[in-house]
């Protein structure tokens, strides 16, 4: 047991140093740009049209879908709040899940936020970020989109931490219940369509106004991740100060 602990600590320290040195650098930019183009094509042909169709659905259906996928995502937040030592956050997330799954009819209604129980979404990449593990180099995955070394490792880790993924993707029993892989894929896909639908205007505007869409997307991804890790919208940028010198 002690050997395992030493090994894990060593991996984390080495990993942390290596990742820190490569923060925001590209792993393999040319390949990533090609994959990005492929993803853009996929968005133009499949995800975009589906999202625009989804946006035409009555508002209660869209809201219900968003609430439902968000409620399931809360399950991943609970262990991550705990790993970050945030007991209040874990309590809020647990309470939110419990209330929305019961009084909110399986999560289709967001009753909890009306009661002041806001769930701040947390995943393993944020947890690793809180412990000082930096991004590592940046790359783009087919279909899944932008990521970094830390975030891609965390994405796999999330499937072990997330009770919903354990039940469905890994098909293990949780509270005597199990599910199917297609349920996991279905819920995640619904979440993607809901997000894409909500951000239709922003994505269109970004596409129209970027002179290098790949770089804008990378910048937005990395800034957003940093904001989520810090749980803060404050940006400290010394460069503005330098401009006046």
């Amino acid at each position: 047991m002690r050997k395992i602990l030493v090994l894990i600590t060593a991996i984390l320290i080495i990993g942390s140093n290596n990742l820190r040195a490569e923060t925001e650098k590209e792993c393999f930019e040319k390949v990533s740009r090609s994959i990005f183009k492929f993803n853009e094509g996929l968005d133009n042909i499949i995800i975009g049209p589906i999202s625009r169709g989804y946006n035409k659905l009555p508002e209660p259906i869209k809201k219900g879908t968003g609430n439902f996928t968000s409620n399931i995502a809360t399950l991943l937040s609970i262990p991550n709040h705990l790993l970050q030592g945030n007991l209040d956050g874990a309590g809020d997330a647990f309470g939110s899940f419990l209330i929305n799954s019961t009084f909110g009819v399986l999560g289709f209604a967001d009753v909890a936020s009306g009661l002041g129980l806001e769930d701040t979404k947390e995943d393993l990449s944020q947890t690793l970020g809180v412990y000082g593990i930096q991004n590592g180099c940046y790359f783009v995955l087919p279909v899944l989109g932008p990521t970094t070394v830390r975030d891609s490792i965390a994405m796999v880790g999330d499937t072990f931490l997330d009770p919903f993924a354990t039940m469905t993707w890994r098909q293990k029993e949780v509270f005597n219940r199990t599910g199917k892989k297609r349920e996991y894929i279905g819920v995640k896909s619904a979440g993607i369509v809901d997000f894409r639908g909500d951000n239709e205007k922003n994505i269109k505007s970004l596409k129209e106004n970027s002179i290098d869409l790949y770089s804008s997307t990378k910048s937005i991804y990395l800034q957003n991740k940093e904001r989520k890790i810090k749980n803060s919208d404050v940006i400290d940028d010394d460069e503005w100060g330098n401009l006046d010198n």
Binding site: E59, K201, S205, I211, D212, S215, S232, E239, W240
Partner: protein, 198 residues
């Protein structure tokens, strides 16, 4: 002639209202500016071209476009000769105004509220605001980086939308173009020219 003078005076008054009427206090400055932009965007009967022209005038007067251009250029600004720098500034201004008007046309009907302001230094104040949620859209937090070195003339230097800095995104986009082209400013200038002429 009398009519002509009246028309000139009226145009001057209208423009004066758009260009110079804002408060010098950062919070009020942002509030007044946004309400002006919203009222322009929601004008019925005015052409898109006309609305864009008015918004461009407001931006030229109240956004620190030259400083924003230098910031987005990154460290290359220190080594460029003045001729190239002037060319860049000119193209950046055109690029900025075009992308600003294109971005704004979609956002006109939601309620805007100022939350508070934080003085970061003698030169900078951050004004925090939000666009109130509607049935269709969630709440959007927007922070404004206001340059207050001249307290009589506050200027906008950045917009931080839900924690994402527009200036930083722009800077990283330009840096990527420069990196892919051995820091050759001409590559960036060509991209800006292309965008401005589309």
């Amino acid at each position: 002639m009398k009519r002509f003078v009246f028309f000139i005076s009226l145009s001057f008054l209208i423009n004066y209202n758009y260009l110079f009427a804002y408060s010098t206090q950062p919070k009020l400055f942002v509030d007044e500016l946004v309400s002006d932009v919203v009222s322009i965007l929601s004008e019925t009967g005015a052409s898109v071209k006309d609305k864009n022209r008015k918004i461009e005038e407001i931006a030229k007067e109240n956004v620190d476009i030259p400083a924003l251009g230098l910031y987005t250029l990154g460290s290359l600004r220190k080594t460029l000769d003045s001729e190239k720098l002037n060319e860049y500034n000119d193209l950046f201004s055109k690029y900025f105004l075009k992308s600003l008007t294109s971005r704004l046309t979609d956002y006109s009907s939601q309620k805007f509220e100022i939350i508070d302001e934080e003085q970061k230094s003698a030169n900078y104040t951050i004004v925090n605001s939000k666009i109130a949620p509607s049935d269709k859209n969630p709440e959007i937090k927007i922070s404004w980086r206001i340059y207050t070195k001249n307290p009589d003339k506050p200027l906008i230097r950045d917009l931080i939308v839900e924690g994402l800095s527009l200036a930083k995104t722009q800077k990283e986009e330009f840096a990527s173009i420069l990196n892919s082209n051995n820091n050759d400013i001409n590559a960036l200038l060509n991209k800006l020219k292309e965008f401005a002429s589309d």
